[in-house]
Structures are given as structure tokens and as C-alpha cells.
Symmetry: D2
Subunit: 425 residues, 4 copies
């Protein structure tokens, strides 16, 4: 299926060489101010061609709203978004001419698409193209705007690894990010503006960023490619999001992230490193939540979000990554996403053709040696879609629950929602 | 939602202390021989109490089919499965008495459930209990039986890490499992019978298994707990499974695995280590597939699965983990799942109560210091559900496509399906 | 699929001759007081064997809650419900012995099930049995309880036609129910208690009820059967429910009703008769809503439902049946459901067997000559599921919208929700 | 939700005054020849302005395929379809100027949309506009093409009632259509070409058609409107479609039809009239199916549909309307859909405004006095979507089942599929 979400539903369409790519966003809350200007910035951040380190294709990617708004206000009806495909040169991918039609490109989707659909499509991309992510980023921008206004949610991703270069490498003292104070401090404060000061790599540390840039340049010069890791933090996420069984928040986040092209891994909170920690250290003890949410104290949250509230309790450490039993606890949610090296490389590759004969696939042109920097806004968009979907699910529940009489063992919605707000005033 | 799958739909229910736990399996193919005897073995493998290293609760977990079969044949109607809860002692969890009602247990779901639902449920477990996984394992056993008979699919999971002990640690020579010949040889041959020779740890290497057992015993003696990694391989999976965009097979696998309680990470194929490999090495070149599927050559696949066929091409290496562009290519699918240390420990924990007052939560009784061995059949079950769902989606597509006239650029279903079979005869 | 609803999800299971029938209700609001005693009354109303006019099978149908509640309060987790099949005599249906195994019963599902599933199941019933509706009624009772407490919703169905006998036959003066003051008065006041005073027929008019009873007796004596019409009214349904396009409230109601076994037609508001009215008369002009909702004025709504509010405007006439553009307007929703005569009859039937040979299917035993009275609680249950599902969808929307700043063209949720309430105080 | 279907998923978007309207069709079988020329004819049949009896707006409605095809062949990826809104004059609806902004139009969706979304949108239509149906018709045309090629399915709708004028009025002899030989003969042969010979009314009987045309003209001259009934037949539908419980084929058909704007009723087979027939007459006895499908015998089915097969048995009568127990039996499926008179009329209407003050809403301009003729292709489109969705569900099941060993009580798929085909050769 090409739909993501059960409550905030996003259906995308489009190949790299059709007329347009885009999506339909269903169930966006009505009454939200929304124009193309709210969506375009993330589209532009996703665009290739921003520097010598990324691909020189200039796609522009201007988004147009087709429906669902009137005079800049969402109506509650489906919002269709559309981006024209301006650059339709099918032969530039992976070698050109007869060559690419003769060979399924190694570690691309050419072969598996043929196995799945039984249709030999023309060279280059199709639905597996990176242009498929345009609809995701556009939809994500809408979700983000709502989340920011209504709940003060902040979602920031950045490059944390390129090849063997890591922003927070595992050490004896700090085997996982979750145990590293420098990491925890960074995710508490990092903003997109800060991340983009480190263009084109988007790793918010000058030294590491420079090493990564050098590494990418090295692979580019070798007509090779390299993978990496994107880290993302979600701040001010309401507590209570995520469903206990199959749709735990970490499960839908993992689904979302592993659906981004070229991903190979996902970890939340302590992640793989957490396997090596004893429970007595890994457990996050509860502490009374501060009266003023940490976000405000740090001074970078300026909008007064109507729905923002904090639970009475928070945790001292955050190895859980903001999620316990599959449900958010109000602490920062953070996770890593692993991206493999791009499969399209400038080097010749020994392989076998559709005709089962061995041969050499030669690529020409210049290719993006590392997708990590461009993946940053895609990761942010998918995170926004996950949170938005979980939020609407919980909104329905809370709203339904709020009309029931309070019983001995139930907590009134109003108390849950407002106690800290009252206290902090 | 408590439903997994879009085609093969599994809906589970049950808390640890209700009358029963179970599930409804919707859309199971009709005409499949099925009785409790097909389901019970995995239920039993999931059971605690198999050795001193696991929890001594004896739950028996006898599954009863309520509907959907007649005379041992599936009718095509929903199959309801039910396991009684025999052991309903709510006070034995996490310390007992007033204590556990006063404190939300650290890194458990007590607090987040209250934030989500607004209901203070009694001590211990509820929907976040490990008993919730019974329905998954029961449903998975049905999917597995179909997959084995119809396609010869084999799914085997095993313990590959406990704390810092790893079966295939990352080395200079073999930075990832995917580049390690010993790993590739193991997943080509490993069976459940072999894995269970290494009970109770289920790590199929005597030396490593013993180290892991010692480690678990050490944590048990400290009233502490430890996490680990489960590795799983899916052999003989048909090619063409998985949807290109949001429901890539790795995405639904990640969703499935990260929905298992206590998981913190997922990686497929080269995984996080693959980020450090250059594209020129990471890419999997195509080779002509052998006439005889490797599984048969190894001699351990004995059933003649009606639907088994192999694509004409396969890959020389398998850093992709059997999935390219989100779609299976017929090669072995393998992945790792990270589990955190169990949150329930025997040590006292300094934390804060529901009343916002600091205090000490003392646990008593004995607890499972490591869930990895018991997670093995759960990982297998979830893998079966993912493959079954993707298979039915693709079956609908192939079947619909098979009735269309063959065009210049389309491949007939019959050719796709049968060419290698013909050749290998 | 065996699931109904997108927000309040009900998945049913069970054949007439398996161990049990039942359902899982997912997404029930937490904090609702709920026990078997809330569910059993509608189960009992659905039961056959209540009088000589209905089938003498005594099934008892005691419902057991398996999960999802603790100490009589819903937890928010899936609620599994189960009713044992006590009466498992497969041979009593449609003629017994070899006879019924040789012939697919005319206008039953025997033949189409074989075409669909390819499995010859034993005689009688299976998934198409009326026992399948037990899960619906049980789930509906939960939805009803919530709707009544939270919104004062009242759902009452009754028998309005048996064969050619109609409670409100079409006349020159009143071509449709919607134009008949007697009908409108009845649906404004009718209660289930009143309907059950007219057992076993459940037509709330003594004269018509007696004629219907005579007619049913006549068909019973001829070993024949007869169909009829159930009318249902939903009072105090909140406005704003239903989705504008595919999931208009009348569409999901029609889906729900036409999924009940033996239904052949559905009409809402003016229905088929409305086709004959000119627009100038059919249109429902708006009027200012009375300060006191009509329901209270009639004195039969006694619970103070927390969520009850009435829109500022209502309509003078109600040919729309409470739904305009697919969305509820707060007026009474009413509709008719047509049921065919039961296919199981005592007369011998000339037909053709599975072996394609002509023959005579002879039935024995006594059969229900008219299902209308028993269908009454099933219609009510399905109506409750539709409203509950639409309500949760709208709750999510309203709740999300309530956190957005009010703009020039948007109406604050609080104003919408509370204006009339304030005025009426 | 704005999505229809679970397997063949159609998501629509668009208001009457946005940039475009359209849809995304997900899960269309790959390898199908498809271009705009396959879709446009039904779009044009849906267009208003074809005669003096319908509205003079000329919308052109040229459909553009955005994605999902390459060189005129479907790829299996989502097909996005788009139709520009060329005629965006918001003030022409319902009276213009301040007038329409002051009053919610009676029996329109203006008021319920405000109750639902809390946004006052500009005059005229929005999502409730008839333009919303463009996406449905476009998607339906794709489904129809597949169904025709693969299974020889034929779907034809026509006008059967306008106001009190009926093509097959209920009589003593023939209380229902299902018992009327003239009706059964008509639906066995009627084609779209024949129906369009009776433009603009689309009632395939010259006398009745003329009466209807006169009646419509009469209402047009009175600035009033009138409703009517559309009848639809589906021929050559494979047997085994529809799900036994909630998604019976008649239930999804009812859902589909009642989601079309302005519908008030749905009946299948004997319908409401069937309630008055005794079971002994209503039951459809089985007969051996003729070796040559009736469609071919009538000479109007010319394409050799690859998937066409007929069950071994059929029914002598067809009061069931081609569906038994919710599942198709291979006989003609036929049903009626009731449409109310259009709410937009030229007459002044006494009503109440948004400000709760009484007043007169005056309409100007010319309006469509009867939507029945234009509804014909919309009914056909929705029927195609229902059948296509059910077909893919059954394809997955049959395909999965075909790989299982044949047991004593199961029927091989190949036998089921091919027996009659073999016999008829």
C-alpha cells in the first residue's frame, strides 16, 4: 500500500519520470493556517544540488496545494499536494543507453521490481527513486506545523555518522549515546537552523563535520559512495502516545524510518548498546517533573502551544528514549537511522544481465556519494507523520474518556491535562 | 490498534490477569490442515520455566482453537485461539503489597499506561505483560505452517548476543555479519532443532553459549538483568514480496520486531555496520542462479513445496539481507533485534511514587534475568506474520496480473513462476 | 474481513458448531464501568426460543468478558467477549442426514461458500449462521452503553412490516414515513421497553401487531416463511458525525445493516418514497433550535449526558433523516431495513445437488418462519457500532481542532459545543 | 476517510473551487494497457451540460494521468489522476452574494460541514459538490477496464424511475422487479450504448423515457426539482466474491451507492418488495448451469476474457440478485439506488440564517432539476470499485489456496476454475 498512518493518512504517488509526484493528506485538522510557504522550506532542504558534495540536478520542487484549503485555512477535507517533474532525462541514470537496459543495477530495485510486477520499466528509478520521498516531506511539513502550534513539538534531525566517522562514538565510559552527557545536552538544544549552519554535511560539530566532508569528497573522487547515520530528536511530544501492542510508538517509528530508501537499521534510546547495560543501570528512575518544562528553561521554545502540558513525573535518565511500554512519557524521543552507501556509483561493476550473461555495467555522470545530509529532512518528516498519527489516536481516546464520570480508579482528563500547567503559573 | 497485517490479519487480546489471552486470525487460506498440535510447539518454546535460567512460573499455555476449522481443516473463516490464564497472582510482581501500588515501576509501562488511559490498574503487567505475546506466537504458528507447506519457507531465530558476549562480534576483517563467511554459513543451515540443542540459551555455539549462560547466571545472582540480541533468518522466501513505498519488507519487519516488548533496535543485512562500507563493496552483484536451490543442496529442505520457485538471478554477496528496494529477491533474509535488559529486577530502586514523593521500590521473588532465549520463538512468529501478509498481497497481484494479455514489455506470470523449475527438472 | 469500524473496531469469530462464538472490541474508551450485566440484556433479546412464534432452540448465550476490564472498569485494552456454543447438533438443519449433504440449500450460503473457499463444510450454518450475529450484539451493547452515558444517545428499533402488513403504509397523503406525523411522533418517543410490550412481534401498535402475529402463524403452519421490515431511530446523536465522501453516515449505516444476514434493502429518511417528492417540499428548512432539546421535553431522557449539546439550528421537517451531505445534523436519524423470508423452510424443495442431479430437498423440524423480531436488537447493535465509530473519528478531529487559534472564518470548538447549553441554563 | 476499498484502494480529493479534483488509485494490477482514452468516456458521460435537461455548466473534465503508467502500461505503482477545475465561479450557487453567505442552504451540507469542521467555507459546494464524484468515475473506469479484459464483467446502469414514473412499477402480478420477466430480459441484454440512445434521460424505453423527460421539464419550468431511481446490473461477475460477515457484497455495494451524493435508499435482488414474498417462492432453486454462459448466447459479449468461468450450478430464479450469504454466485447482480430531488432549486425558500434569524433564501440561475441521468455513470463506477476490490481479495485467497494439497473435503482450485470451461469446449 502507498498509504501511511491510520488517523492522519498520507497516500503518495509518483515515479521520477511521470508528470508529477505528490500526495493526498487525509484527516488534517480543520482551521489550520496553511499555505505553500509552510511546506516549501522542507522541500528545499530535501533538494539535491545545494553544494558540490551533493548531486547537481536542480529539480526546483515547487509544491502546489490542489485542494483542502480555502483562503489559506484547512477545511478538513483531503489536501492534495503536487510537485512537477521538470527534469525527465531517463537515460542519465546508471550508465545510459543500451547498457542500463541490459543490466539490473546491483543493489537497486530494478530486478526486484521486475520480479514483483512483471513489467520492464525504462531505465532509472521509477517508484524506487528518491523523488518518491517528496510526497512524504510535503505531508510531514503539514503535520509538523500542526504539532508545533498545538503542542510545541520540535523535531530536529542531523548527521551523526558518515562511514567510520561518528559524532558520538561508543566509548568505555559512554557505551551508548543515551549515557553520554554531551549527546543529551545536544539533543536538548539543537535546532534546524543550527544544523544548517553545518551545510552541506549537517553534522552540528565543526571538527567532525569537516572530517565527514573530507570523507565524502574522498569517496566522490573515487567514484564510490559511503553510508552513514542520521540521529533525530522529538521534543515536547505529549505523553500517552503509541499503542500498547503492535503499534508501539517505537514500532511505528521503526516502520516509518525503515521505509525511507536505503535504510538498514533503526535504534531508539539506548539501542543496540543498551543490550550490554545491566538493568539496574538501564532502568530510568522517576523523578518529580520540574514545574517549568526544560524546553522553556532553555529558551528556545517561543510559541505558546495550547495543548502543551507535562506529566507530573519524568525520568532521571532517559535510556528508554522517551518511550516506555511503547507509549511516550513526555521525555525527549531520540533515535538513530542507518543508511547504506548509495547503490549508484561511477565505477564499473561486474555483474549479470537480464539475459543471464555476465558483463560490465558502466555508469557515467556524477552521482551523489552520500545521501545522509539530504535524508535529514526526510527523517524529520516521517517522524512528524508518526507523532501526528499517534496524537490523533490518543485525542480520540482522551476526548471520549473526558465525558465519562470519574470513578475511584480513574483519573479525570482535566486533572491529567492541567495540573502542571496550573502549578507552573 | 491491536491488529497486525492488512491481508493476514491478527488481532490479539488479553492481560496477564484476565480469564484468557488469545487472538483472532482472519484470512487464513482455507483448506489447510490445522490442529492445536501445529500451534502448541512454539507456545511451549515460548514458555517460561524451562530451566533455572528462566522464570519458574509454570503457565502451561495450552492453546484451544475456538473456530475456523472443521475436522482439522481451515474453513477460511476467522480462527479464534485462546489460552487460559491459570496463574493469576497479581501481587507477586515487583515487590507486592502496597509498595507496587505506590510506585510506577521504572522503565515499565505502569506510568505511561496511566498517562494514556487514565486508569490505575492493579499491580503487574496488564497489557504490557509478556503474556501478550502468546497470541502472536499462536498466530505465527499458523502462518508458518502455510508458508512451509506452500513455499518451503523456513524461519529460524537464535540468540546471537547477551550483554557484551556476541556470536559474531564486529572485527577489522569482518566489520559486519554480512561480510562474515561463518555467519553466512550458519544461517544457510541452522534449524530450530539445532538451536534447541543449546537450551536454555539458544546460542548455537558451545563456547559462546556457555559464556552467555555464565553471564546470565552472574546477573541472576546479583538480582540484576541483562539484554541481548536475537538474529533471525528467513529462507526460501518467494521473491517479489514487500511494497515499494511505505510497506517495504524491511519496514514491516522492523515494525513487527520493534513491537515485541523490550526491543530497542533492528537492523537488516549489513545493518549499522553497512554504513561504514563503501558502495563498491556493499553492492551485491548479480549472478545466474544455480539450477538447484541452495537449500536443497544443503539437504535440509525435505518438503516439496508447491509454490517454490527461484528467480533466474541471485546475488553473489548478500549485504542487502534478501531485500532490495523494499522487495524480496529470493536470497536469505536475515536481521538482528536488540532487547534491553528486563526492567523487573530484584534490587531495590530509588524512584518517585504516584504521589510525587521519593522512595524505594523493593522487589521480591525471582525474576527472569534475560529474556533473549524466550524471545526467539516470538521473533520467529512475528517474522512469519510479516511474510504471510506480504505473500497474500503479492498473490492477489500476481493472480490478477496472470489474466492480462502479455505485452511487449511485460513478463507472463507463468514464465516468471516456472522457468527455473522447468530448467531444474 | 471480519472487522467492522475504523476507530471502534469489532472483530468477530465463530461458526454455529465450533466451541464458541465471540468478538474482540478494540479501542473502547477506558474508564467505562462495564460488566456482563451490561451486555446480557441485548444478548437475551436476540435469543431465539422466546415464544411459539420463534425457533424453540434454547441457546442461553451467556456472555463472558475475557479481557479488557479490571474490577468492572474498562482498561482501554481490547475487550474479548465469548459465548459458548452449547447446542451443537449439525444434522438438524434443513433436512438432516445424507439429504442436506447432497444438496446446497436454495438461497442459503452453502453453494457460494463452496465456490469461495473450496471446502465442503458439514451441514448447517457455518459462518453464515445467525449465531454469527452474537458477536455484533455483544459489541454493540458496549458501544451503546458509552453513547448513552456520554451523549444520551438512544437507539430503538422495532418491527414495522411483516409481509404485506405495514405499520405506516404509503398513502396518497403520506407517501413516505418522513411525511407522516404519526410516524414522526412514534420515533420521538418509542422505547425498547415499549417495543417489548409487543412481544413476540415487537411492532408497537396493538392492531398491526396482532395482524402480523396472525400472518407469521399462518406461514408457520404452512411450513413456509415470510420477510419484513425493521425501522430504527437514533435519538440525541451528536451533530457532525460521518465523513463527507465515501464514509457518509448513511453509507456506513447501509453497510452495517446490509451486512446483517437476510437483508435486501436499506433506506434512510424519505427513502425510496422521497424520489417522488419535489425538491421544494423535500428540502428541510432550518429553524432555530428550541432551548430545551425535544427529547427532554418529552420527558423520557433522564440521564444527564456530559457530552450532550444541540446545534443552534435544527430543521422544521426531517426528510433528510438526520443526515445532510453525509453528516449528522442532530435531528433524529431513522431508517428502514428490509429482510427477506428465511431460506430455511419446512416444505420440500425441487432443486439440484452438488452432483448436478435434480432432486428434492426435504427439511424437517421446526424453523423460524420470520426473523424480524429477533433482528430488532441486531439492527440496534449495528447502529450503535456505526455511531460509535463515527463519534471517535469526530472526537479526534474536534479535540485536535480545539488547540488551534481561532481565525476569522473558524468557529471555536468551545462555542460550538457550549452555546446552546449556556443558553438553556 | 476519503479512501474506498481495502485491496483496490481509491483515495479522492478536491472541492469544486480548488485547483483540481482527482484521485490516487493504489494496487491496480501491473501490465494493463491504460491511457486517458480508457477513462475519458465515462468522465464525459458524467459531465453536465449535455442537453437542455441538465445543467449548462461546461466543465470539460479532461483527465490527466500523473503517474503509475509508462508507455501506456500500468506499472503496479499508484496511478494519480487529475482533472482541472476550470470553472471557478463561487457566487453562482444558490443565490449569490451576501444571501448565500447568510443562510445555510436547506438540505445541503453547508450547516453540517460547519458543525463538523468549524470552518465557514465560501458559498457553493466544497467537498459535498458533485465534482467530488469525478475521482470516483475516473477510478471506476480503470477497474472496469481490468474487469472487462480479465473476466468479461459488464456493468450497465440506467434510469428506472423519475418521480412517480417507473420503468417497472410494482404490480399485483409482479410485485418486485425480480419477479418480472420483462425486467430480467432487459438486464440480460442492456448495454451502455443502448442506454445512451435514450439521452438525456437514459431510461431504455421510449414511452417511459418521454414521460420522464416531460416530468423533468415540468419541474425545471417550476424552478423545482425531482428525484428518481437508478438500476444497475453487473453481468459475468465471478462467483465467490464478497466476505461472509461484515463485508458481504451487498453490504459493500450498499456502502458504495449510499456514499454517492443525494442517495436515500438501496435494494438488491427482490429488495423491499421481497419482504412480501413467501420463502417458498422467494428461494432460488438450483439448476445445472448451461454449458455456454448466457451472455455469449445473447451474442453481446465479444471479448474472450481469460479469467471467465461459470460455476457448475446456477439458480432458476434470481430473487437473490446474484448474491447469497453475502457472496456472489455467478448470476446477474442487480440493484436499485434511490436519489432524492436536488436540494438546489430556483424557488425562494423560507429558512433561518447562520445568525438564527428567519429569512428568505433566493436562488438564481438555472439548476439541474434531476440528477438521475448524470448519476448513471457514477453508479457504474462505484459498482466497478466494489467488484474489483472483492475480486482482489478473492484472488489472494484462491491463489494461496491453490498451493495446498487437496484433501478429502477440499476442492482443487484448478477443478473449480476449469471444469465448466473444459465442458463447454
Amino acid at each position: 500500500m502507498s498509504t501511511f498512518g491510520q488517523y492522519f493518512k498520507v497516500t503518495t504517488y509518483g515515479e521520477s519520470h511521470g508528470k508529477s509526484v505528490g500526495c493526498i493528506v487525509d484527516n488534517c485538522p480543520p482551521g489550520l493556517q496553511l499555505s505553500e510557504a509552510d511546506i516549501q522550506p522542507q522541500m528545499t532542504r530535501r533538494r539535491p544540488g545545494q553544494s558540490a558534495l551533493t548531486t547537481p540536478r536542480d529539480e526546483k520542487d515547487r509544491v502546489e496545494i490542489q485542494s483542502g484549503t480555502e483562503d489559506g485555512i484547512t477545511l478538513g477535507s483531503p489536501i492534495a499536494l503536487r510537485v512537477l517533474n521538470e527534469d525527465q532525462r531517463p537515460k542519465d541514470y546508471g550508465g545510459g543507453g543500451k547498457n542500463i537496459d541490459a543490466f539490473p543495477r546491483p543493489s537497486h530495485a530494478d530486478w526486484t521490481y521486475l520480479e514483483k510486477y512483471g513489467v520492464k520499466s525504462s531505465s532509472g528509478g521509477g517508484r524506487s527513486s528518491a523523488r518518491e520521498t517528496i510526497g512524504r516531506v510535503a505531508a510531514g511539513a503539514i503535520a509538523e506545523k500542526y504539532l508545533r502550534i498545538a503542542h510545541g513539538v520540535e523535531i530536529v534531525a542531523f548527521t551523526s555518522g558518515v562511514g567510520p566517522e561518528h559524532l558520538f562514538p561508543s566509548t568505555k565510559t559512554h557505551p551508548t549515546q543515551s549515557a553520554n552527557p554531551a549527546f543529551l545536552e545536544l539533543i536538548d538544544k539543537i535546532t534546524r537552523e543550527k544544523v544548517d549552519e553545518f551545510l552541506p554535511v549537517r553534522c552540528p560539530d565543526e571538527t567532525v563535520c569537516n572530517s565527514m566532508a573530507d570523507l565524502i569528497a574522498e569517496y566522490r573522487d573515487k567514484s564510490d559512495s559511503i553510508g552513514g547515520v542520521v540521529t533525530c530528536v522529538i521534543r515536547n511530544c505529549p505523553s500517552g502516545l503509541g499503542e500498547p501492542c503492535f503499534d508501539k510508538l517505537e514500532a511505528t517509528l521503526a516502520h516509518a524510518m525503515m521505509s525511507i530508501p536505503a535504510t538498514k537499521g533503526f535504534e531508539i534510546g539506548s539501542g543496540f548498546g543498551g543490550c550490554e547495560m545491566p538493568g539496574s543501570i538501564h532502568n530510568d528512575p522517576f523523578v518529580k517533573a520540574p514545574a517549568v518544562p526544560p524546553a522553556e528553561a532553555n529558551g528556545h521554545a517561543t510559541e505558546a502551544a495550547a495543548g502543551r502540558r507535562r506529566p507530573r513525573l519524568t525520568t532521571k535518565t532517559n535510556n528508554s528514549g522517551g518511550v516506555q511500554g511503547g507509549i511516550t512519557n513526555g521525555a525527549h524521543i531520540y533515535f538513530n537511522v542507518a543508511f547504506k552507501p548509495p547503490a549508484t556509483i561511477g565505477q564499473a561493476q561486474q555483474t549479470v544481465g537480464y539475459d543471464e550473461e555476465a558483463g560490465v555495467l558502466e555508469a557515467k555522470g556524477r552521482h551523489d556519494p552520500c545521501v545522509i545530509p539530504r535524508a535529514v529532512p526526510i527523517v524529520e518528516a516521517m517522524a512528524a507523520l508518526v507523532v501526528m498519527d499517534a496524537l490523533l489516536a490518543q485525542s480520540a481516546r482522551q476526548s471520549a474518556r473526558s465525558l465519562l464520570p470519574v470513578l475511584e480508579r480513574t483519573v479525570p482528563v482535566s486533572e491529567t491535562e492541567s495540573k502542571l500547567l496550573r502549578e507552573s503559573q
